[in-house]
Symmetry: C2
Subunit: 357 residues, 2 copies
């Protein structure tokens, strides 16, 4: 039973409608395959061995995923570069074998644009991933991958984030000569994501009601799913006013586990890959520390003693897991905000485009 009232009537209607749009956004991005392939070819031609990603908020979270996409597929060193190092501290780093990928929904984040201008002057191949191909960022970069997510009206980004994940995957896959398999994989993921979101909407509401009191959370993911942990934390902070902190399974054991108690739930993302034993071990430490576990991800069933399970279907290819694993977090944040009496479309003190220094 779908208990969602007509859109527009509810707080969070904008956020929910954009969460639902995501499968269509992924399918639209696949129409850009030719352009993405050409950008990847140019990165190779320019001798890329390092990918420097820059962005803020959700875009920076997508970059966390890019570290794995480029590391695993073409075997490139990919990093979330420090914007302040070049823009504020004037560091003069050799950029000749670097490609820069600047991620920005609006293409108007000032320090991201400035970073790209500097990097381009210093010889990097510069690529803009943005929704607005007429933005200053698109102007500053040599190449553009238009995300085509359409106008994002909710303040908490959702469809831009998944479009960024998919664009990074497709760039990395084309650079590794594996474009066709990943195009098929993203297409299949879009279908799975649509089913998942529909299934989550009614079921997550009950869970959110029982957790309406929560003010602190850890969100644990490892490898490519660390991006998911960061993005879920950000949604919980901005829409639910929860002090949510993303951690790798190993980070958790090195200190933060000491902070847990029964009112401090831990959201754990488990995948069927080599990181699973570390996540399962971390879950044991959480239980021993008295924390409540919410298990999610395709291997959620491997987490023992979870108070709630938000399962995710297995992805068509292992690296595509984060395209699906983010959905439970987005829908949960939408539901938890309402359970707390907050409107997730009106976060305290936030504007859609941040023009801060």
């Amino acid at each position: 039973v779908n208990v969602v009232a007509p859109e527009g009537a509810l707080p969070g209607a904008l956020l929910l409608s954009e969460i639902r749009e995501q499968p269509a956004v992924l399918e639209r991005l696949l129409e850009r395959t030719g352009e993405i392939e050409a950008v990847a070819a140019e990165a190779i031609r320019r001798g890329t061995s390092i990918v420097r990603m820059v962005g803020h908020g959700s875009s920076d979270n997508a970059a966390s995923f890019g570290v794995y996409a480029f590391g695993i597929l073409p075997g490139w060193t990919a990093l979330r570069d420090s914007i302040s190092l070049s823009v504020y501290y004037g560091a003069e780093v050799d950029l000749r074998s670097s490609s820069v990928i600047a991620l920005s929904q609006s293409g108007r984040t000032p320090d991201v644009v400035e970073y790209v201008e500097r990097a381009r002057r210093r010889g990097a191949f510069t690529i803009a991933l943005t929704n607005d191909p007429a933005s200053p960022l698109a102007e500053a970069a040599e190449a553009i991958v238009p995300l085509g997510a359409g106008e994002e009206r909710a303040i908490a980004a959702t469809k831009t984030y998944t479009a960024e994940l998919a664009a990074l995957t497709l760039l990395a896959a084309h650079a590794a000569g594996a474009g066709a398999a990943y195009v098929d994989g993203v297409r299949a993921s879009a279908v799975l994501l649509a089913e998942l979101i529909e299934r989550l909407e009614p079921s997550v509401r009950a869970l959110a009601t029982t957790l309406a009191f929560v003010g602190r959370m850890f969100v644990v993911g490892r490898g490519p799913e660390f991006a998911t942990a960061r993005e879920i934390s950000l949604k919980l902070m901005e829409t639910c006013r929860v002090a949510a902190e993303p951690l790798t399974a190993t980070d958790l054991a090195h200190g933060p586990v000491a902070a847990l108690d029964a009112l401090f739930p831990v959201w754990m993302i488990a995948s069927n890959d080599a990181s699973l034993p570390a996540v399962v071990d971390a879950a044991k430490r959480v239980r021993a520390g008295g924390g409540t576990i919410l298990a999610s991800g395709p291997a959620a069933g491997a987490i023992e003693g979870a108070a709630a399970v938000l399962a995710v279907p297995p992805p068509p290819l292992p690296l595509l897991g984060p395209l699906l694993s983010i959905a439970p977090g987005q829908v949960f944040a939408w539901a938890l905000a309402q359970a707390k009496g907050l409107d997730p479309d009106r976060p305290n003190g936030l504007a859609k485009v941040t023009l801060a220094p």
Copy 2:
């Protein structure tokens, strides 16, 4: 008036004695200048242009500082590398112009040792920064910088962290041909740090008492001081059970500011450098969001409307700021734990050496 009771009588006595030891640890490290210079020379001889740092907890926080030390001084690309990318996901990245710096107090963290073994086989120049020159990590690496911090008995690391900061600074400075200036700078910092710690101990207690109710905090720092923000957050999590999250000034504006309320203080580290306007702007957003500000760092006075100020003297060289800025956080964590009735020497569920997968 120093109100501290005799050591051994108080919870947190171990932690406090190691906080106080830090100036002596810095001076001892300077006796290793010849060894550090030789390691830097070998890194240059091996054609280093990328520095890959690996470590967990406080060691990973020190690596955040290394990004700036190597970027600003020799102009090298430095990154906190993903351990899981090579150890769990088998990524095959070209490491020929890479130096690896593995940071571990004990030298016994299993995945750090495994990362170093793999990187060495793939052609990286591998350097261990550890307290134990007979550890498996020291064995696995080609070069060792012994931190010489002495046995660290408190579970929350303090003196190892500052020794790591100083060792990274000296490696970067020698690589840039600026060794002598930084040796002098670290020596002068040790003197300032000793005075600072003595001054902080009595004054911080009153502040901690008024904040005993705190369960959530953000800690904001930018550039080299982001490492300080991460390390203060970790101390607060592990000794005070506070959900403390490190953020850059820009991160804060991109979402987390929405979570603030009057019971959610923000610790802000301000330095007299190009990042100051961003930190001052972030402080305005915190006040507008209803958060309470604790201002720290050498430019703490530039933060308007702070509820408390924990000033830090100007460092002898700008990059050495984090050697001093960490002290207020360490002493505050020690005092806040006691104000909350916790023993910072007995965190819940933590052991000194984490042997998790």
